[in-house]
Every structure is written in structure tokens, then in C-alpha cells.
Symmetry: none
Subunit: 239 residues, 4 copies
DNA sequence: AATGAATGAGCCTTCATTCAT
DNA sequence: AATGAATGAAGGCTCATTCAT
């Protein structure tokens, strides 16, 4: 109750800590209310600072949104990217990419909506780290396909850009109802179905039979890998 | 208390004509500026009526948007639906559906953006004629696939909902860059590629043998699937 | 289904009937919604005419309100005024006036609110038939008091204007909570209490005892009169 | 997107000072024009701030009205309440309460109208500080009466709620004409008359004998009351 | 007499952003 | 670095009333 305390009692934080704090609360509020229903004043309030302070760290509300999502997305991509490394086999790797996307949508629908409906359509999307990260990440999918083509597992004339569009577009379209509060879906089941469809659509008929035989085996492999994960130490590196 | 001088010079139109007129101009302005940058006053001005008159016919700006898009969309669907009738053969019919979607995006990118970015994410989408029309229309695609399945042309276990998602989601994802001012695409070429991919993914050839060969493994698969169920529910990737 | 029917099928009514019809519906809507929440368009709709027609009969919405209330009020006053005639004795007549006011409030709270909160505070109140009717009616109360003064039953120096204010103001104040949805009251009990209080306040102490003795007797008289009403033919004259 | 140039020349005030300032000017304008003829923009202008600033402090125009009146009313009640303390004697204290009410109406008719015609009928009245203050204040009047009853100065069976209604309702009804620009009144004379009337109505003198004399009749009275109950409930006068 | 399309003035309200302190 | 009072441009929406037909 010392009257001399300058400004409030807000514990002195370093510039980075304060910014991160604001970012964290911004993300929460944006998720709860959506971009345009979010008031900067509410973010400020929850972060324990005044409105003006938010603008010290972030020039505009929009920038705040982008940075908040970027921060989250960076950790996410890093995580998934890392987990991909330990997976082998075209089918399994493809499935992981597809499952990952489905799973993020399922676990973090609000963040997904923010990206899909706010960030992406925005004019500045292409200058965003989200765009860059997302490009790099989906390129993994292309890489998997290209390797399969090189190995003769997939047809040599696969139109990779279209395939990528069908995978990611298909996943998002499939999950649209869930994102808008209608129904639910299983990421695992959907991942299996989609992977299968894609795999069949791309498979080289010349070697199709052999690979189709190996398909079930790779699934067993994948299942065992997941089981192994459960017995190993929990989440070794999360963000 | 306030005296009004109605009528000015604007010709007296019937309710329907006036409403249609306003709708037409609304569509133009919404396309040019997007929903939130559109002023009702500008729509009124272009339609040659005062702002109040717009609200005489449409209770809110949002309703005006929906009705304007609905009017356009109804004509569009009618047109495409009609053209489908004269096309025969699974591949051709499938291609027409895919090409149609690509073509609309290509020819009317602003209307597409309005639907994809404004109408669809809106809370009232499901009560919209657009939703209904669009459902009926995409059901044609399912119909084509189901008929091909019945005829033995496609595999019997095709997951139609996923296929539809991949077709329409794929198309929209593919055209995303174009919609946002980056690059262009050929509706015809893309239609060919996508149709091909889908057709191959669903076609029946060579599947029989593979299935017979893989049969002994299905029991192991089933067991693994049960294990997967047990490991999956625990949010593996939620930050 | 004859296409030639001019205008709608609205049965041709005489000017008076049409006006009365509009008035009736106006009263209903005004009661349901209050003055400012009532739309002229709704009155028109319920009366089966178009908006413009309402303004053929009544120059403004306000005038419509006043006329609607006047019509109702005229019948009401006529009714009560008529019933007063058959009542004798200062206490009984006073009680009837008080009970009447309480009873109207209790039976027609919406109309009461309209008069108290919309009509009376309005600038044109004094030019209203409601004002005139109401003045004439409350003058009955003054008459009763003056007669009692002349008869020596009440003190000679009774300030009649103040008494009237206390009676009517008191009744309205007492019923205020009920009018606004809080609680209820019994018109009969309140009438007894208020009449008693007024009577005592005005009674001539010189003859107080005698009259106080006769009080209970006049109540008996009144009660018998009411019982008689029940056995007689129902509502002989109700506008 | 829009650049603003804040501050102009208006001196920077503390939140409380600015709010109080706006409140003061709001009260003035509301009194001059009445609630609905008051423009928020005018209040802002007089207070030397922009319209938006008013809404920075008060969420709605209505809230502004309520707060403005509350501020005034609080001071008023405090003042009168304080002055009551130094007055002794039932008659004197009663008269002060009555005179006070009359006096406020006479000195601040606009504020009175605001309360009586805008605040009280409003749906939020019961959650208002005005309601609370007013309740507490009029309870003083009840206190005076109850003390007089306890002291044997007033009859033991005084119906306090009805008396309060008659006092306050009577005062307001009496002053109605003045409030609406017709005539004037003397707070002092009216206070005397009303106090006298009330006092006589409640005083104990001569009552004892009358009651003793009338005792045998009370049983008949009670019986009749029961009969009355049976006849009353049937809407006797509802048109 | 009846219609009903058209009016139009202006209200209340929003909220990201600024900058003197 | 942090504050927080002040901005201000505009925007959607209302609805009684008019008058050519």
C-alpha cells in the first residue's frame, strides 16, 4: 500500500517476457472470440497491462494476431517435423503427414479457424512466417511423393502440386463441418482412408501388386512404432 | 414532426423489380469491395434509391449479401446442372463436375471469395439456400461415383464422403493462389489432372488380385487397428 | 380466385367501421408493446389494411393512440358513472370511487400504463377527451365530499383538491409495483383501507361518534347491495 | 488504417473528473430537452469532448441518464435526510417529509419529471440507486408513523404502506399540473394541509370510545367481509 | 377510397489507435 | 518503459410519414 509505487504493481518483466505474455493472452482471446470480436482492451486486461502498452509491443491488432499465431505455429511445425523423421515407408510417411493435419484441426479447431479464415485470406499472408513454415512443411509431402516416384513406387507422371492440393484441401474440406460445430470425425480413420486413396491414385501399376502386399506390413510397422512411443519417455521435445 | 418529400425522380417500381435491382447492384459492390468494405449507402446510391429503401427490402446488410449471392448462385447451379444431363460416361461426367467448379472460380473469382470467405464461415450458412443448393449439386458427384461403383467400374468400398472432400477441397486449394492474386491456372488442364487422379484412385483394375493376396494379413491388421484405437485418443501432438 | 378483384379482398367497410376496426387493433398492439415499441405497420397488418390506410383515418401515430384510448376510456367512465348512481351513503360512495380506480388498474394494467405514462405526460393531454372525462369523473368524488361537508358529516374546512390528489395519487402510487410486474394487490382490501383513512381524516369530530357507529352499518348495506347485484340480471348496461 | 489526432486542446482530466464533468452537462441537457430529445452529441459538445468520449465513460445513453440523475439524487437525499435529524415531534417531522417532497418538485421540476416519467417507468428502475435511495428515504416516513403508533399518538392499526402511498402519491398528483406548466402551488401551504389531513386520519383521539361502542358489530362485519370476498373476484367492471 | 413504394434525417454506438505525460 | 485519457470517422439501422397512382 505504498503510495509511491510507480504505475501499478505489475511485476517488472523484460521486454521479451512482457511481449510473450501479451502474445499468450492474445492467442487465448483470439481463440475464444475470433479476430474481429476480440477487443484489444480485453487482451490488455488479461495480460495485466493497459491498452496502450499492447501497442508498444505490436504496432496493430492484426500484427498481434499474426505474431500470436506464428508463435504457436512454429512450435507445432517443429514438433511434427521432428516426429516425421523417425517414420519410414512411403505409406507410413504419407499417412503421418495427413494424420498430422487432421489431428491439429481436431485438437486445435480454434487456431485452425484463425489460420484458415483470418490469416490466409489476408493480404499480407505471403509475407508471413506462417506462410513460409507451412510451405516448408507441405513440401515434405511433396518430397515423400517424389522419392516414391524416383523409387518407381509411384507413377513417373504424378502431378505433385495437384496431389498436395487434394491432400490438404481434402483434409480441410472434410473437417469443415467439425470446425463449424457440426459433427465430429476421427483423425485416425480419416487418415487411413485418405492415405489409401492417394496411394492408390499414385501407385505404379507395374509394381502395384508388390507394394499393395507390403502395405499391410507397413501399417503393422507403424503400429509397433506407436506402441514403442508409449513405453518410451514422454514427449521428449515439445516446442 | 419531420416532413418528408418522397419519390424524387426515381421511377416507381414493383416490389420485386426494386428488390431485384438492389440485389443486382449489391452484388456488384460486394464483389468490388468485399463485404465489410462495402457501404450500404453506396449500394443504395448505385441502385438509385436512398439508404432507407435498401433496409425496406432487406432487414440487414448481411441478409442483403446472402440474398445477392443466393440469387447469383441459383442461376449458376441451374445452368451447370442442366449441362450435366447431356454428358455421358463416368470419366466425362466426373470431369465436368470438376471442371465446372474450377471454371466458376476462374471466371468469377470475386463471387467465389464471397462465398468461401464470407458466407461459408458465417454462423447462418446452414440455413442458407446456398448451402442447400451446394449440397444438392455436389450430390451429383456422389451419384456419379455410386453409379460407377454399381457398374463395377469403381471399387465397391469407395469412401464417397472423403472423395467428395478431396475433389472439392482439392479444387479450391489448388485455385487458392489464383483467388488471391498470385498466378493463374487452366481450368481445363487442372480438370484433366484431377479427374485422372480421382479416377485411378477409385478404379477397379488389378485390385482383385491384390486383395486376394493380402487376405491372410487382414486379421493382423484388424488386431492392430484395435491397438491403434487405444493409443490414438491421447492427444499425441497437442502442444 | 377472380383476378379482377380490385385491391385485395378486404371486405368493404364503411368509413366508421374501418376506423373503428383500426382503432380496436391499435389498442391491442399499444397494450401489448407500449407506445414507442408499437409499429404502425403492425397495427395496419393486424387490421388487414396497408400502412398508408391508417394515415387516411388518423393523421399521426400519436393521434391514433389518443383516439384508441379515448374510445376505451369513454365506455369505461360511462359504466362506472352509471353504477355510482345506485349507491348511497358517503362512505359507500367514496369507497366505490376508490375501488373503481383500483379495480380498473387491476383489470386493465396495460391501458392504465398507457394513460399514466404516455397520454398524461404528453403536451396535448389537456386538449384530450381523456382529460375532460377524467376531470368530470373525479369531480364526482369532490361532489361526494362536498355533500358530506354540507351535511355536517365532514369538517367544513376540508381541502377538497388535496383530498382528491391524495385519493387518486395514493391509489396510483399504491398500485405502482403491480403495474410494473412486482407483486399484486386486492382492490377490495385496498379500497376499504383507503376509504377508511380518508373518511377518518375528514370526519367532523363533533359528529364523529355517531357516524363511526354508522360506518359498520353502511358497510353492511353495501355488502347487501352487492349480493343483490348477483341475483339480478347480469350487467344490464355495458356500453 | 485511419490516423487519429487525439487531445486537441481539451485539458487532460482524471477519469473521475472527466466522468463527473460529463455527468454534470448531461444533467443539464436532459433537463432542458427531456431524455429522448437529448442528443448525446450535444452533451459531448457542452462537456468539451467528442461524442466517443462520452461512450468511453458511459456505455449507453440510458446509463448516462441514470447515472446523471443518481448523482443529483444522492446529494439531495443526503441533504434532506440530514436536516430531518434536527426536527422533533411527530407532526413536525411528518410535515418536513411532506414539505421536502413538495419542495423538490417545486424547485427542480425538470429533474422530477425525469425521475417520474423516465426513470421510474423504465425496466431497470429496481436496480437503480435511485430506487434504493428513495426506498430508504421514504422509510423515514414510515418510521415516524411507527414511532407515533408506539407512543400511542397514532392508532395502532395504521396501514403504513397505504399511508405512504397516499402521502407520496398525493403530493405528486397534487403537483402534476405545476409539473406540466399549468399553475403553481405553495409547498408550505400544501405541506400544512396534507400533514394535517394525514395526522387527523391517523390520530388516536376519540377513537377508543367509538371502538368500544362499535364492538358488537365487528362480528357482523367479519361475516360480511367473507361474503365480499366471494363476490369481488369476478371482474365486475372490466369492459 | 385505398394503396404501398419510397423517403430521409439522424440516432446511437464501436474501438483501434495516438501521444502527452 | 509504461500509462490511459481521448480520439473521431463512419456505419448500420429505424420508422413515421408522404403522395403519385
Amino acid at each position: 500500500m505504498l503510495k509511491k509505487t510507480p504505475h501499478r504493481e505489475s511485476s517488472r518483466l523484460s521486454r521479451e517476457q512482457r511481449a510473450a505474455d501479451i502474445l499468450k493472452h492474445a492467442r487465448i482471446v483470439f481463440c475464444e472470440k475470433g479476430y474481429s470480436d476480440t477487443l484489444v482492451s480485453e487482451i490488455a486486461e488479461r495480460a495485466g497491462v493497459v491498452e496502450g502498452s499492447v501497442f508498444h509491443y505490436f504496432p496493430t491488432k492484426r500484427e498481434l494476431l499474426i505474431k500470436a499465431v506464428e508463435q504457436w505455429y512454429t512450435g507445432l511445425i517443429w514438433d511434427y517435423d521432428h516426429r516425421l523423421e523417425s517414420i519410414t515407408g512411403t505409406w507410413n510417411r504419407l499417412r503421418f503427414m495427413i494424420w498430422g493435419h487432421l489431428n491439429v484441426i481436431h485438437e486445435e479447431p480454434e487456431m485452425t479457424k484463425l489460420i484458415v479464415e483470418e490469416i490466409r485470406p489476408g493480404p499480407e499472408y505471403r509475407n508471413t512466417a506462417i506462410y513460409e513454415l507451412s510451405r516448408n512443411y507441405t513440401r515434405r509431402t511433396l518430397g515423400i511423393i517424389e522419392e516414391a516416384v524416383a523409387a518407381g513406387e509411384f507413377r513417373p507422371d504424378v502431378p505433385t502440386a495437384v496431389v498436395r492440393a487434394m491432400i490438404y484441401g481434402g483434409v480441410e474440406h472434410y473437417a469443415f463441418g467439425f470446425l463449424h460445430g457440426t459433427g465430429d470425425f476421427s483423425a485416425d480413420e480419416a487418415a487411413d482412408t485418405i492415405t489409401d486413396l492417394v496411394y492408390r491414385g499414385l501407385a505404379n501399376e507395374g509394381v502395384a501388386q508388390a507394394h499393395m502386399l507390403s502395405e499391410p506390413l507397413t501399417q503393422i510397422e507403424a503400429g509397433l512404432a506407436r506402441l514403442k512411443k508409449l513405453t518410451a519417455p514422454k514427449k521428449p521435445a515439445s516446442k
